[in-house]
């Protein structure tokens, strides 16, 4: 299981393991796509890290929402990786990143009835292969082609019908609330508390007053911290990690943001959400 305040770990951070060790996050997260195909020093170093920290995997290329068939070989490779390194949870994005070929980034899944049905069927296949429940993240998006229902309805219907977990990305709620003019707090409160596995927090880039790009390339802004505070107040404290993928600052600066997550968690220390292992994590 995971708990507390964590950090999204990248290969670029391998040089600063000593700094990390001095003030260790409670857990870390990696994208399996960025480690599975790497032999040599990366394989060795990750195996060592996975013994020292609890890890979750956060996938990028599953393409759960694509109309093309699932890459089952890839899902089995993820299964082998999480088994090998004793990783307790695999999360992905409620999105798609491929058609006839991979585009290597997240596209906005149409919020439609047939997309709900399609995604639910595919989550079931993945959960069967992995022999555990997966968590899906509410993604940031800049437009919603074909939308026939609100994002919150789409998300909640998928979570409910697939009976899977939620990776609650606080920054994405903020970004989407600006980009699509909705009330972030109202959205946050409609999320199913009992399905929250863990959370993400990150910085972003302001393209325009009404258009924000979710870059993970800057410090977390105050409005997003406030939303994290509200999330804990409303749902209880869930494990939360800092994502930083671009303009990566010295480790000390990132750990200061991890500490701030810890501070918010401390504020609501008597309302810690139970890790959903018994009720939800295990596949029956």
């Amino acid at each position: 299981m995971i708990q507390g305040a964590g950090l999204g770990f990248r290969r670029e951070m391998l040089d600063e393991l000593e700094v990390l060790k001095a003030n260790p996050p409670a857990f870390m997260e990696v994208a399996p796509e960025n480690w599975i195909p790497f032999g040599g020093q990366y394989q060795r170093l990750f195996a060592e890290l996975a013994q020292q920290y609890p890890f979750v995997c956060h996938g990028l290329s599953l393409s759960i929402g694509s109309y093309e068939p699932l890459d089952l070989d890839f899902v089995r490779q993820v299964k082998a990786f999480i088994d090998q390194h004793n990783i307790c949870l695999y999360s992905e994005h409620l999105s798609y990143c491929s058609g006839s070929g991979h585009l290597y980034d997240l596209m906005p899944i149409p919020f439609t009835d047939d997309a709900v049905k399609h995604v639910v069927e595919r989550i079931d296949i993945v959960q069967d292969i992995l022999e555990q429940k997966i968590a899906l993240e509410n993604v940031s998006y800049y437009c919603a082609p074909g939308k026939t229902m609100p994002e919150i309805e789409f998300l909640n219907r998928v979570l409910e019908q697939a009976d899977c977990l939620l990776l609650l990305d606080v920054n994405n709620i903020y970004v989407n609330s600006v980009n699509h003019r909705y009330d972030a707090l109202a959205f946050l409160k409609q999320l199913p508390t009992e399905r929250i596995a863990y959370g993400h927090i990150a910085g972003h880039y302001n393209e325009a007053a009404d258009l924000i790009v979710d870059t993970h390339g800057a410090d977390v802004i105050e409005s997003v911290w406030t939303l994290l505070d509200e999330a804990y107040r409303h749902h209880g404290v869930f494990p939360t990690l800092l994502e930083r993928d671009f303009n990566i600052p010295p480790m000390g600066e990132m750990l200061a943001e991890v500490q701030r997550i810890r501070d918010y968690q401390q504020k609501y220390h008597d309302q810690v959400l139970p890790w959903p292992q018994t009720a939800l994590l295990e596949r029956v």
Partner: protein, 250 residues
Amino acid sequence: MGDFKQLQQDFINHIRDPENHPEVAGIEDRRLKIYRELFFNNVLGFVSSGFPVLCSLYDECRWQALVRRFFIEHDCKSPYFIDISKAFLNWLSQEREPQDDDYPFMLELAHYEWAELDVSVRQVVHEHAKIAPDEIGDAPLVLCETAWPLSYSFAVHQISADNKPTEGQPGGVHLIVYRDEDDDVQFMQINGVTAMLLQLIGDNPGATLSPLIEAMCEMLPHFAPEQIEAGANDVMAMLAERKIVRRLSS
């Protein structure tokens, strides 16, 4: 599912080839622009960092045009980002129509740059043992899994913005790309005879040195056998020391 698939296909077509698919129905262009730029810059970044030398020989505009053609024309099948480089090389060598102004060494250089990347991340299946100097004559030999002997017609390892050869080297250029003790990638230029020995070791895993020397003597009738044997022993000592050639473990 028809509509859903069509919505995705329209979106993908626009992202990959906005010139020929200029819009997505009902969506503001400034929003599409975010996707267009994020996606293309992401792939551009992977290709540029995978082929730094090739990239340095192009001005930004021509390089971006090349990567754009790749992005439009090639369906990348791998979920792994590291495989974008291999996909680019495959597209370049097998799918792309050669252009009159291509560098004559373009494919060889791209292959060499990809080979360095491939060796750097290659997964080791069999960890064969190092050969001690006094074991060289008796050990069953095998090429290390993270060593790759390569032969090109151009001196690809010397190409730069200031050195763009127009012709290949007589006799070609032989290189070995390998991982050192720290798993860092190194390369070494080797002569044709060493390349031949490495080829023989690669083709005959488990053979000892003497039959390989015999085979070389037959292939090189104009050299004295003693000369070949002495040369092979020297070269083997160096290859064993760097763990490029190892003892085959059963």
